[in-house]
Every structure is written in structure tokens, then in C-alpha cells.
């Protein structure tokens, strides 16, 4: 059997990704996670001295903390299998990527294991976040300098 022939046979038999259902799940779970975040935001604004501008930081930190607990107790894996991007795209997904890699590195010690494995999955997010922040700011600065745009 030729390679092309085989690949069309394989595609025929392999079940298709249920795109509509996956998207719906991602939307619902992602939305719910954001609602939890919103509730935490309101909590911080009502009982602590945070404004809408400053409440983002403690909210994100709290969400990552929740992600740590869910990951540690083995629940985030199940959520991820169900929700796909719905649990991967919120910061809890970033937290899960860091925490799961850190837990796994434990057997190699805190320096060689936890330290160097922690950003195995999430490192690229930080890399592209910082690099794109630099280039966006650079471009903006150039545009402002030549008078095309304003801050």
C-alpha cells in the first residue's frame, strides 16, 4: 500500500475532532473561570483597598493559587481533558503548566529538578510575552517620535 493511499485510509477511519462540542466546552468553562475571577475581584474590591485598576494582580495570584491546589490534587488534568483551551487559556492554565512541571521535577531535587523543569512548558509564554512587550514598545516609541501616533 502506498503512503498516500494509506494516509487517506487512516484519515477515513480516524474519528474527527468534535470541533463544535470542543468549542462550546472551551467557551463555557473558560467563561466560568473568568466569572470566578470576577467574583474574586469583587471580593478584593469590597473588603480590601483595591480599585478596578489594581485588583488584577491579587486576582490573578489567587487564581494561580487555586490552580495549584487543583493541580496538586490531580483535578486540573481532568478539567483540561474536558475543557481543552477553556482551562488552558486562563492564567490558571499557565499556573497548571508551571505547577505540574514543578511537582514532576521534585524527584531530581529542588535545583536540578524543580528549578530547571518549572518553565519547561510555560517558559515560552514568558519569553514571547517579554519579547513582544519590548518590540511593541519600541515600535510605538518610534511612531511617537516621528509624530505618527500618540501615547
Amino acid at each position: 500500500m502506498k503512503e498516500q493511499q494509506y494516509n487517506s485510509l487512516k484519515d477515513q477511519i480516524t474519528p474527527k475532532t468534535p470541533l463544535a462540542i470542543n468549542c462550546l466546552k472551551a467557551f463555557a468553562v473558560g467563561g466560568l473561570i473568568c466569572c470566578v475571577g470576577q467574583a474574586i475581584s469583587f471580593f478584593y474590591m469590597m473588603f480590601f483597598d483595591f480599585t478596578e485598576k489594581t485588583v488584577g494582580n491579587p486576582t490573578v495570584a489567587t487564581m494561580v493559587f487555586l490552580a495549584m491546589l487543583l493541580t496538586g490534587f490531580g483535578q486540573y488534568r481532568k478539567l483540561g481533558q474536558f475543557a481543552g483551551a477553556g482551562s488552558a487559556v486562563p492564567v490558571t492554565g499557565f499556573g497548571n503548566a508551571v505547577v505540574s512541571a514543578a511537582i514532576e521535577g521534585k524527584t531530581e531535587g529542588l535545583v536540578l529538578g524543580v528549578g530547571s523543569n518549572m518553565f519547561k512548558l510555560a517558559g515560552s509564554v514568558i519569553l514571547f510575552g517579554v519579547v513582544s512587550a519590548f518590540f511593541v514598545t519600541l515600535i510605538k516609541l518610534i511612531l511617537v517620535s516621528v509624530g505618527v501616533a500618540a501615547w
Binding site: E3, A83, I103, E104
Partner: protein, 331 residues
Amino acid sequence: MVIVFQSKPSILSSGVVVGPLEKRSVFQTYFDKISADERFQKVSNEKGNAMLISEACQTILKKSNLNNLDIDYLLGGDLVNQMTPTNFAARELAVSFIGLFSACATSVSSIVIASLLTELGASNYSIAGASSQHNSVERQFRYPVDYGGQKPATAQWTVTAAGFVLVGKHQPKLPYVEAATIGKVIDYGATDPFHMGGAMAPAAFDTIQAHLKKRSQTVKDYDVIMTGDLGKIGLKILIAMFAQSGVKKEDLSRFRDAGAEFYGEDTAFLAGASGAGCSAAVYSGYMMEQFKSGRYKRVLLVATGALLSPLSFQQGETIPCTAHAIEIGMG
């Protein structure tokens, strides 16, 4: 290449040790020991994998009233870096040892080498087999086990299991190795690490075809042709390939797959089981028992292996696959 064993080395005994989750396997009654802890109270998953192997070898020694000095060779492998769990288990057993890597096809390639050594007269007793441990393998090849990634329906679950057999000189009333085919490496350009069945099916097809042709046999000559860990979808693809090549519909039911059947219809495991321990446990546990009970007279065991590494995958290489087959008969 097909090897025909004139001396018909026998499979004298077997030892299968599995982890706690494998209690849910449909084959669980054929396992010698089900551990309640996949790490065997050790600190790391890799040590747990080594313990799986040690325990399986000890089971064989106990069952056949031998001690480690009676064993001439240990042949085996696993899926962790440089097969360290098997290396460490071999250190405990203290016998001549060759580590083998054919990914999940190691379960059969090790028995082939053991049979060759026996045929040569170099070995009276050889232990051969393979193992895998879920946590250590997932970590090695995919993501951390607690990472919440979404797996497609084609993904398979690496089992925690070690399956080893004792190969020795021919003895009556025991299953024996009659012939074997060492497979070629086949690569049809698959790149999806969550669809191993689809990548490995062509290798299984090629090896089975080669074996039947060289041995002048047909599918009908076997009670069962059992592949290693193609999974539910991979098995469907393999059956479709044989249907296209002209195998009659009623004979297609002779194709079975250890990975597809391992966890039954449990959807939590998606397309079924995988890993070197999957085929090793089913072959040396379930299959040998079927021979002893007289249900089967001749089977072809075809273990499939995906020869990728995390590095090769990240560098954009396709997944080369292989399949090794042994023909086992009785009576």
C-alpha cells in the same frame, strides 16, 4: 527477515506485575501481582519501574524453582532514558544482561533474541520481556502527568506493567517459539504523537505480510494474530488494510490488539492502552495461559513500536515505526 527455530525453544514460565490502575484491565486475572502503589513505596517513578521489573523476574524464579545463578541472560528494555530502570533491575538480578530498545516492540524483540541464544546452545534459561510505567513514560514523551492538556480520541494510556517470560530448551506440553520476523522500520510520515496507532499500523501490516509470505501461511493458519498496542483506532486501520489486501471478512476477526482490549470499553482510557508493558503483560500473562488451557494452538504475536524521541518530535521529524513478530505454537 524470517527466522525459523529448529530447536523450538519453549516458554517455560512467565511473570507479570502491574500497577494499581491495571486492576481495571480485562486481563487482570492473568496478572501475577497487582501492586497497590505504582512507585512500590520508592521515592521516584523510575525506581518504581525498576521494581516492576525486579518483581516480575522474582515471580518467574519463584514459579520455576530457580535462583538467579541459574539464569544465563536477562534481555529487556523499557521506555525511560537509556533504559535505566531495566539496567537497575539487572544490577539487582546480577546476570548477564543486554538492554534492548525497540520502543513498545521490545516485548517481542527480547523473546526473539532469547530464543536465538537458546537455539545456539548458549543459554539454558533466559528471561526476556519489557516494561513501562505510566508516570515516568508520560513525563518522558509527552507532558507532566498533572498537566491539563486535552487528548484526542486517538490518544492511548501508557500502562504500568512488566511482563517477562522464561525461555529455555524445548520441553513438551509447553508453548514454543517456532519462527520470528524482525520487522523493517516503516515511516509513512505520521507526526501526531497522540495518534500512535495510525503511525504504527503500516509497520504491523508489513511485518505480518512478510511473515505469512515467507512461511507460506495465510491468516487462517493462526487462531489469533495479536498486535501489541495499536489501540482501538489503530486496530481498525490494520483490519481495513488487510480487508483491502484480500483477506476474507470472516478471517478478519482473527486480528486482535492487546492495547485495544486491555482496558475493555472504559472510555476514560480513550483509544486503549499502550506502552512496552502493555503487550508484554498480555502476551506473557493472558496468551501463555490460553496455550496451557488448550484454547489456542498457534498464534502470531506482533508487537509494534514507535521509534520516536521527544527530541526528534520537537525537531519536526516524522515517527518511524517497527513491528516484530513471533509465531508461537503448542503441541
